[in-house]
């Protein structure tokens, strides 16, 4: 099993380097193979982590990291598949090299984050995801893209500066248990339990939530997110939303795991609850105001990260298992939503919701898949998010946080109204019914099968997660939730 760890962190890096230098047709093939093989390897690693943590040198995988690894690998595999159709072979060769190499290296950095065995290395991996993805946001070289990339890199880097300070404080706290020099591995820090001193751990936890929370997209440090998600090329938007936010949430979860025995569940839960409630409500009401299709989805990501935060704050085994299922379902759903939005933009030549009508008549595959995905994001059956949100809310019953469960329901309902309004206007209403006289009227048909296939895969995953998740998966989710307790 240790060999799988090594292969997963080597394959996308090699693919990224090769994609820079080989002909573009071969670069596409290498990227595609890298994406699928990483997904297969990540799934296979589940057999090993089911028995116990798999370690090799600075690499380590347990059930918790496996959940985030699989979510990331799935989005990486589908995004690179989508990119083959998204990227016209007629595009400039240098652009194609940059895009495919960037996707691989971005995927590599995100796959490394849950696999590294240490808080310092985790910080390094997440910082690498920032700088690589900032370049990808700017890859289209438009004024709006450069604006979004700059805002992203400066805000996220500032957040990660705070997270670095948190890492140093945790190291200092650990010196009282392990002596002056030690490796700051997850194994050590989790094992330290309540022996760590309270004062530095308390400050470190607050700084880590704020710092990594910047990358998660928690309000009020979320301002980069809607811009970057909107202006990035669609496969990059999907990776940003489906996996980057989750990987950053993984870092927060690791801090929860280390700090909770020292600080108590009440303190860690209260901090996350404040961020979760604010994020959920601000995002839900922002969804109602959006006129840009990708920006709408970006705010939906903030809403779901708010739900993840609240689930962690509840801290019960059921809520935590729900959080982890939500991470998987959100990866599939948000990837799908961005893929669908990308096809719609390709067909209509605009992201403006007011100018998109009659999608079901124009896009015979994408439109129904997009509608189903939006319903999945709204937490409707039979998709995975209804199950995960139910688990999170049910997990709060019996605790003192019932009012927060009501907030989750309220926020989800408001977000549902906003998303349902948009999907109705864009997919079901024709331009004549909507009274939009100058709306574009594209020809019926799909731009590429490569862009539809990932959506079919994503929807299949959502249905499986909603109707009957495999027993092996639910066992691993319970195991991961147990690791967090």
């Amino acid at each position: 099993m240790a060999a799988l760890l090594i292969i997963i962190v080597i394959v996308p890096l090699v693919a990224g380097c090769l994609a820079f230098v080989v002909p573009t047709r071969l670069a596409r093939l290498i990227t595609f193979v890298s994406g699928l093989s990483c997904l297969a390897l990540a799934v296979a690693l589940g057999v090993g982590v089911h028995v116990g943590p798999v370690t090799f040198g600075f690499l380590r995988a347990d059930a918790l990291s496996w959940v985030f690894l699989v979510a990331t690998a799935f989005v990486y595999a589908t995004a690179v598949t989508y990119a083959i159709g998204y990227q016209s072979p007629a595009s400039a060769t240098s652009y194609q090299h940059r895009l495919f190499a960037g996707l691989n290296i971005f995927g590599w950095a995100m796959l490394c984050a849950p696999l590294v065995n240490g808080l310092a290395l985790l910080w390094v991996a997440i910082e690498v995801t920032t700088v690589v993805s900032a370049l990808l946001v700017a890859v289209d070289r438009t004024p709006r893209a450069s604006e979004a990339a700059w805002k992203y890199v400066i805000i996220a880097s500032a957040g990660l500066g705070i997270a670095l300070f948190a890492t140093i404080l945790v190291y200092q706290a650990g010196t009282q248990v392990f002596g002056e020099s030690y490796d700051l591995t997850l194994t050590q820090m989790i094992g330290a339990g309540s022996h760590l001193p309270v004062a530095p751990i308390r400050l470190a936890f607050l700084l880590a939530v704020l710092g990594f929370g910047t990358k998660v997209g928690l309000v009020p440090v979320h301002t980069w997110l809607p811009d970057a998600h909107t202006e990035a090329p669609t496969p990059v938007s999907a990776m940003l939303s489906g996996s980057l936010l989750a990987v950053s949430a993984y870092a927060v979860l690791r801090y929860v795991q280390i700090c909770r025995p020292v600080l108590g569940a009440e303190f860690t839960g209260a901090v996350l609850m404040i961020f979760g409630v604010i994020s959920l409500l601000v995002a839900a009401f922002s969804i109602m105001l959006q006129r840009d299709l990708k920006r709408l989805l970006a705010y939906s990501s903030i809403e779901h990260m708010g739900i993840v935060c609240l689930g962690i704050s509840f801290g019960t085994p059921l809520a935590l298992a729900g959080v982890l299922l939500h991470v998987l379902a959100h990866a599939a759903a948000k990837g799908n939503a961005f893929y669908g939005a990308g096809v719609v933009m390709h067909a209509y030549g605009t992201k403006d919701i007011d100018r998109i009508h009659g999608g079901l008549d124009v896009l015979p595959w994408t439109a129904p898949l997009f509608v189903c995905t939006i319903f999945a994001l709204c937490g409707m059956p039979p998709f995975g998010m209804v199950r995960s949100e139910f688990m999170i809310i049910a997990g709060s019953v019996g605790s003192t946080t019932r009012i927060v469960a009501i907030v989750v329901l309220l926020g989800s309902t408001v977000a549902f109204l906003g998303l349902a309004r948009v999907v109705t206007r864009t997919m079901f209403l024709t331009a004549s019914v909507a009274g939009a006289v100058d709306a574009p009227s594209p020809r019926r048909g799909e731009p590429s099968a490569w862009m539809v296939a990932p959506m079919l895969a994503g929807l299949a995953v959502l249905v499986v997660l909603g109707l009957h998740p495999p027993a092996a998966l639910t066992d691993l989710l319970s195991q991961a939730a147990g690791e967090l307790m």
Binding site: A120, V124, A148
Partner: protein, 223 residues
């Protein structure tokens, strides 16, 4: 501490170095020329490297000497060279006027520094017999770096703000986590190198697309 409660020579030296780093941060905030800002950053980084060297000799921890040498190579030479070249290509000399007047910026920076100093100082964390004051000063440096990133309206100043924020974290790291394995410290520095390259690329893209280094005009994305 000395025999009569006075700070030891090492404590006094380290405290002084930390305060010099903080003063350099304030000087960057005050500086109106981009080249001056970059030179101040190089000087500040050099002082941080001196701190590493002092602690290396005090603790007989010669790994810190390697770290000091790497810091000089990267933060005193490489980063300023990359940034200076970027500024020269852009043909810009004067930093963005800032979203606030100089006096207001300084006042906010003082308040932020005080907050950082007392918030971190309250923890009373110390190592190697050093006084907790150094970590508190590191907190102040980080806060002033945030102010620099926030109030300046040009991409170079904002980048320098981020790099100097890393210097503040380095001071904290040296005084409370000096035993951190060299490999991790090198990983942090390598990461900074990657960040510098990416910042350089994005500054060039920004200049090409916006026609200036200013961030005042990038207001298209809202809501």
């Amino acid at each position: 501490m000395g025999p009569d409660g006075a700070p030891s020579v090492l404590n006094g030296t380290v405290d002084t170095i930390a305060v010099v780093v903080l003063l350099a941060e304030f000087a960057m905030l005050r500086s109106t020329l981009l080249r001056s800002q970059i030179r101040l950053y190089a000087a500040q980084s050099f002082v941080v490297a001196v701190l590493a060297a002092v602690l290396a000799f005090a603790d007989n921890s010669y790994e810190l000497l390697i770290l000091a040498a790497l810091s000089i190579g990267l933060k005193v030479i490489a980063v300023p060279v990359v940034m200076s070249r970027t500024v020269r290509r852009a043909g810009a000399d004067v930093a963005g006027a800032g979203s606030l007047r100089a006096a207001s910026s300084a006042l906010i920076a003082l308040v932020a520094a005080g907050f950082g100093f007392f918030a971190v100082g309250r923890l009373g964390l110390q190592a190697h017999g050093l006084s907790p004051t150094v970590l508190a000063v590191a907190g102040a440096i980080i806060m002033v770096a945030f102010v620099l990133m926030t109030v300046r309206t040009d991409v170079v100043s904002q980048s320098v703000g981020f790099f100097s924020l890393e210097n503040g974290v380095s001071v904290a790291s040296l005084v409370v986590a000096a035993g951190m394995p060299l490999i991790l410290e090198v990983a942090f520095l390598f990461d900074l190198l990657v960040a510098v390259v990416v910042f350089g690329v994005l500054i060039r893209v920004h200049h090409a697309e916006q026609g200036s280094l200013s961030t005042s005009d990038i207001t298209a994305l809202r809501g």
